[in-house]
Structures are given as C-alpha cells and as structure tokens.
C-alpha cells in the first residue's frame, strides 16, 4: 500500500518541473510540451485523490475528471499547434522572443 501523500508529492514535483520548463524554454513547441507536463501532473493528483475517496466509500469522480482533462488537452493541442504553425510561418522562427508584436 502506497500512501496517497507520495503520489501528491510526485505530482507537485512534476508540476514544479513543468513550471521551470515553461519559464526556461525558448522554443514555442517545448513550452507547449511543458503545459502538457503540468496537465499530466494534475491528472496524477486527481487519480490519487479519487482512489483515496473510493477507499472511504465514495465514487470514482476523480477518474472521470481525468478523462475530461485529457479531452480538453487534446482539443488544446489541436488548436495550439495550429497557432504554432501560423506563428512559425509568419515569423520564420520558433523562438518565443521573436513573437513580440504586442511588446512596446
């Protein structure tokens, strides 16, 4: 039996690494991958909490939430990668620092 705390701690570590990747990476595709990493970390926490809830006689609501998160992530990936293709076509670069039209 593995305590739920361990899973939540792992989830927090993965989420933190996702934030670091999001802040540090310069490539727009890799930044998008960092967002997926954070979503995965949250999914892990959802499943762990769902299991703890089921152990106390509840329903497996958390696992249903995970399915919804995965659906939203898939929709997000489709639209986000479309935007990335457009940006790359217009800016001729994948570096986020070249996307500065809104900057003063």
């Amino acid at each position: 039996m593995i305590p739920t705390n361990y899973y939540i701690l792992l989830s927090a570590i993965l989420f933190g690494l996702g934030i670091v990747a999001f802040v540090f990476k310069r490539n727009i595709i890799t930044i998008f991958m960092a967002i997926e990493l954070m979503l995965n970390a949250v999914n892990l926490a959802f499943v762990a909490f769902s299991k703890a809830h089921v152990a106390q006689g509840g329903q497996a609501d958390g696992e249903v939430f995970v399915l919804f998160v995965i659906i939203v992530a898939a929709a997000e990936a489709a639209v986000g990668l479309g935007i990335i293709i457009l940006t790359a076509r217009n800016r001729r670069s994948l570096n986020v620092e070249s996307v500065n039209l809104l900057k003063l």
Partner: protein, 163 residues
C-alpha cells in the same frame, strides 16, 4: 519495502528524470521523446493504483495521439536546436524562485497534512466509470463533443493558407 513500493519508486524516478530531461534537452524532438517517457511512467503509476481505464487512455490518447501530433508539427516545421539566448531577467529572477516556491509550498502542505488514506490497489471497474460518465457527468460529456467540434473547426481555420 513491498514490491508495490519498489515499483512506485522506480516509476516515480523515471517520471522525474524524464521531466528533467525535457528541460535539459535542446532539440525539441528529444524533449518530445522525454515527455513520452514521463507519460508512460505515469500510465504505469495509474495501473499501480488500479485505474486501468485511465492508464489505457493515457497511453492511447497522450502517448499516441497528442505526442504524434507534436512530433508531426516538429517535423513539419523542421524545428532545429533551440537557440540559447539569454534568459530574460524576468524569467531568471521571478520565474525560477516562483517555481521553487510553488513546489516547496505544495510539498510542505503535503508533508504537514495528516497521513491521508493509503491508495488501495483495488481496480476501478470500467463499468463503474462508464456508468458515472453517462449518468452523473452526462452533460459535461456532451459538452466536450461541442468542444472537440469547435477545436476541429479552429484548427482547420488556423492552418489553411490565405489566398
């Protein structure tokens, strides 16, 4: 240390190493492959917890569909190595301390909490999950079909060339 514990730590270390590798790799395709490692390790953890359906969906949708989309775009755009520019001062002085602080606070909250119930390895049957999905969560479920429809339209509109 039970066998479950050993499997948990092995998978957790693989996941964390994959995430670190995602940050350190400079080529986007290597980052994508590292992310696949993380996702497969997480699917293993879901199986360890007994969430078999979620584990299968994780492999099929995340490891299969979404990452193939990523790799497809990387190859379509012929993305090369990341240019190592100076990280902006905002990222260095605000972003990293923020990330460390967020992780630290979450970890402290978890470690200070009373030991939560141990995650049992009992299987959530796919039947229970689908019953929940099609009764209690049927409206959100139907809404996601609209979401996917809008996402498809958005992707087509975004990706087409203007003539």
């Amino acid at each position: 240390m039970s066998a479950q514990m050993v499997i948990f730590f092995v998978l957790a270390i693989i996941a964390v190493l994959g995430a670190i590798s995602l940050i350190l790799q400079r080529h986007p395709i290597h980052s994508a492959l590292s992310l696949i490692v993380v996702m497969v390790a997480l699917a293993g953890l879901y199986l360890l917890m007994g969430a078999e359906f979620v584990a299968a969906v994780q492999i099929i949708v995340y490891g299969g569909a979404i990452m193939v989309l990523f790799i497809f775009v990387i190859m379509l755009l012929n993305a090369g190595e990341e240019e190592r520019t100076n990280v902006s001062r905002l990222a260095l002085y605000a972003g990293v301390p923020l990330a460390v602080a967020v992780t630290g606070m979450i970890a402290a909250a978890i470690l200070n909490s009373r030991a939560a119930a141990t995650a049992p390895a009992a299987l959530t049957s796919t039947r229970d999950l689908s019953r929940l999905l099609f009764t209690e969560f049927v409206y959100p479920f139907e809404l996601t079909s609209f979401l996917i429809l809008v996402a498809i339209l958005g992707a087509i509109v975004l990706a087409q060339r203007e003539n």
